[in-house]
Symmetry: C2
Subunit: 112 residues, 2 copies
DNA sequence: CGGTATATGTAGGCAGACAACATGTGAATC
DNA sequence: GATTCACATGTTGTCTGCCTACATATACCG
């Protein structure tokens, strides 16, 4: 997959991954690999700053915990984050509908 | 639609618009509006440089014509462009499959 | 003559994903 | 006891590439 394809859709992925559960950054990356069938392998330099950005925007909240001597910052959706996720899902449907309206169906029948 | 969502998909849109017909830049913009139900309204500053880029890459070829006293640069797909379009369609399917594997289906049932 | 649609283009800005780097623990391997 | 791997978090700097704003020119209508 070309790298820049994710542009503008990363927030949706992160919010959806946190829908209904709390996870730390490393586990989010693994969950995305699993759920995408291996297609999404996001580097930490992409995910961690994005999570901080979402927290600054009030869409997720985080707290530290220690598991097996290792520090974890665990994230969960806020109410605003749940609303944002719903909006992202709607935006995704509109986006794909627009693109597929162009891409779908091969050559143009109305060619004069 | 958020502006940056198109990142990495613009080439596919342009190639698909030229599939099976030749068009000039302005007509491509109108065709994209029509085919997307008005969702895609690309500015000229996006489309014209992108077409030049595609031409440099050998995916489209262009020629000037004059229609009603107005200059038009008409584009068409090259063989390489047709192959690239096929590749873009495949990449699009893989991309949407990956995203929808994450976005689809709401909260996670396997939450412990 | 002015405004709108048609038609093409450039210059500069800027968001945001990525590569590379930096740090530290626990467990297994040798 | 040293090395290496999996786990876990983060920063810095870069670069792609779409967008905004601007600039230009003709035809047509009023």
């Amino acid at each position: 997959m070309k790298p820049d394809a994710l542009r503008g859709h990363l927030d949706a992925l992160l919010l959806a991954t946190l829908d209904g559960r709390q996870l730390h950054g490393y586990a989010i990356i693994e969950a995305l690999q699993l759920r995408s069938g291996g297609a999404l392998d996001l580097p930490t330099g992409t995910v961690y700053p994005a999570l901080r950005r979402l927290e600054t925007a009030g869409l997720v909240s985080s707290e530290w915990s220690t598991v097996g001597g290792r520090q974890r910052r665990t994230y969960r959706l806020t109410k605003a984050g749940q609303r944002a996720l719903a909006a992202e899902r709607t935006a995704w449907r509109e986006f794909t509908a627009a693109i597929e309206g162009v891409l779908g169906g091969g050559p143009w029948p109305e060619q004069a």
